[in-house]
Symmetry: C2
Subunit: 319 residues, 2 copies
């Protein structure tokens, strides 16, 4: 019998989402477990995850025989080794390499398991079910707590020599006196254009000037606060978005010189601020890109529902 | 009968080199014609080229039946369209798109012709016969009059959505007050790290200071002059190389975040200055690259004889 279903698992710092998915990207059943209550005990986490996967398959009215495989998107997940290694936000994988592919497969009675990082999973999800359906060359940029990327060339995700390709959040957006990034480098795109980065911009600018802003009343500014203020017409917050969009667009111009993609596809919490980011992003991209690509590369926003996208992306790995 | 030979054609601004090549990269016969005496008459050039190719096949003691195909490396050559379009250094293709693949194939009685740009051809040459033999993921950087690049991922040259991928010479090496590049952008790697670029650095620095240097006696400084002076221990010229190598290494760190290559492979006139470029290049790359790649990506120099490499690279296209 044809195995016409897959399981997608999206591992995040706080929760892991599980879904059983059909070929059309329909999620038949889904569930969530905590990722953050196992301390450094990777075996306990994997046991709980396997149990949740089995329950989810049962809830969808299926058995293991119906399942082609399990795709897992995880921070620092490596496609070649199947490991999740040195992932700062996962206590059970923060200081070592966890053989997630092998151990989860064993716990699931031999179901094939494929692992990659969350941004590559997002790229696969867009290509299989979303905004990049039918595209063979695009770059997925995830604007969340960090900035991730998944690069698709000729219909395939680029893993590189060692499985770690596509770290575009850690290319240099600001060369002179760039901000320190969590990765140890200075001036990374992630230090400016993630949810954390845009909040840093706002806080730095507020400290450096006396300009009035709705943000001045707040204790701890988040990207959501900046978005809400921009919505209310706060000029300061609008400029923060303009700056952020400009840095993104300028970086896109560099990325295009590498792989000449048809589109840049954006996803993630900060991408919800499309109305404030899109224009400066597109202008900076076209102002800075080599002449042959001016006006030619699309910037598109994910069409997948945010809650489903991570599961769908991971599930796409398993086809 | 097996077609065990290919023809490589390297089209440059002044000359076009032709060679008949076997599977081992042995050049059985070669010849050269001028590229620059046909004005805007593309047909006349293609006719002369086809004649030279046929004579070269005959000189190798072969006939068209022995030839699997003809590979052509040309400035702005496009793999998908087979065109050479808007190539500033080729008068017959400077203002239009010349259908080189189709027209050369017709002039050669239907022999298959494949076209790509010179840097992609160089990458194929290294992979087929040279320093990158056996590698599946590497980035070829050609340091000549300009800076070109050919990117190989999973054993295949990256052409991108439109056939123009791999313009790493036109990524930004210097962001603030970067030099104008011939392409219209500012701060391009090519404006600093090509043969032209390093000469610009020397001239700028000489004009800005009174520092003594062997270069002060020269009328029109070339990259060769800087190399010769460095060989004699000229401290100024040594610093020019150190700066150039540092900018290259810093850019390599950005490229690695994209495709996680096994190696960066260097080729071209300026790459002959390995003794002065290698150390600052390697240091800057490892200082700037994301932690997971520190000390892991090799920088290697082409092992192909410079005169043969362009023909071999183009010929590798035809296998």
């Amino acid at each position: 019998m044809a195995k016409e279903f897959v399981v997608g698992v999206d591992i995040g710092g706080q929760t892991s989402k599980i879904g059983v998915v059909d070929v059309h990207g329909e999620i038949l059943a889904q569930s969530v477990i905590r990722s953050d209550i196992y301390g450094s005990d990777a075996s306990a986490y994997i046991e709980a995850l396997a149990k949740a996967v089995e329950e989810c398959i049962a809830a969808a009215g299926k058995t293991n025989d119906d399942i082609r495989g399990v795709g897992v998107g995880a921070p620092n997940g490596n496609y070649y080794t199947g490991d999740v290694a040195f992932a700062p936000n996962l206590a059970w994988a923060a200081d070592s390499a966890v053989h997630l592919k092998a151990e989860l497969s064993r716990a699931l009675g031999g179901l094939p398991v494929t692992v990659t990082n969350d941004a590559n999973a997002a790229a696969l999800g867009e290509m299989t079910y979303g905004a990049a359906k039918g595209m063979k060359d695009f770059i997925m940029i995830t604007l969340g707590t960090g900035v991730g990327s998944g690069i698709v060339i000729d219909g395939k995700v680029v893993y590189g020599h060692d499985g770690f390709a596509g770290e575009l959040g850690h290319t240099t957006a600001v060369r002179n006196n760039g901000r320190m990034c969590g990765c140890g480098r200075a001036g990374c795109l992630e230090a400016y254009c993630s949810a954390m980065g845009i909040a840093r911009t706002a806080r730095e600018w507020l400290a450096a000037t006396d300009e009035p802003s709705l943000l001045r009343d707040l204790e701890n500014i988040t990207s959501k606060d900046i978005y809400d203020a921009a919505k209310k017409g706060d000029a300061f917050s609008l400029r923060v978005f303009e700056y952020t969009g400009t840095l993104l667009g300028r970086s896109f111009a560099e990325f295009i010189a590498f792989s000449a993609p048809e589109a840049i596809v954006l996803f993630g919490g900060l991408a919800r601020a499309k109305e404030f980011l899109f224009e400066p992003m597109q202008k900076a991209m076209n102002d800075n890109v080599l002449r042959i690509w001016k006006g030619k590369v699309k910037i598109i926003f994910s069409s997948l529902k945010e809650n489903d996208a991570a599961i769908l992306g991971a599930s796409a790995l398993a086809w």
